[in-house]
Symmetry: C2
Subunit: 116 residues, 2 copies
């Protein structure tokens, strides 16, 4: 079986709530995570919600990395989609876990686009 892409769903729990509510910090951490994964950044946005939380997207040449944070639950949902064999998703995940000071990290991976 051959697939066109892989999607990683990462649950970060027990994070530093203050960091999760800081769009500048989240932006810096996401860009750094993308670089650590060998990704090429094409475009990015970060948006702060009222009263809490940040959503961020980085479109990368290899697909995308998204984050949604819930500071009130010390939780961040990350999802990373890649169609490249050179992107090392684990590096980005490990970096974000440390940057957001997560106490718990679980990752699921789903293959996307079966072509044979």
């Amino acid at each position: 079986m051959r697939f066109l892409g892989k999607q990683y769903m990462v649950e970060l729990k027990g994070c530093n709530a203050k960091l999760l509510d800081d769009p500048e910090f989240i932006g810096t951490a996401m860009r750094e995570a993308a670089l650590k994964a060998n990704a090429t950044i094409v475009q990015q946005f970060f948006h702060q919600f009222s009263p809490f939380g940040v959503s961020g997207t980085i479109v990368i040449a290899e697909s995308h990395i998204n984050i949604h944070t819930w500071p009130e639950h010390a939780y961040a949902a990350i999802d990373m989609f890649t169609c490249s064999d050179t992107l090392i998703a684990e590096n980005a995940i490990e970096y974000l876990k440390e940057a957001l000071e997560a106490k718990e990290c679980t990752t699921s991976m789903m293959n996307r686009g079966q072509i044979d």
Copy 2:
């Protein structure tokens, strides 16, 4: 059990390859899909890859909708993350299936961020 969000992974196969390679069409279809799902568009970005394919992201107040297309395989991967009970993901999925003229559509849903 209570969760903070839901993530829908949609596989559209047998699509119209010409539409999948047209970033303007993809942008219009994605915005329309967001509106049909009752989503509020916050930010959006569409990017055409060389030689083929489009990546698109719509940040919505309810989280995000992404698309990646492979015209050469008549395939599009859509993923929609929502933290809202008012977003009707099925409406967006049904609309995109028709708009991209997909012959086959399979959807997986994953709960994200268990809080109790």
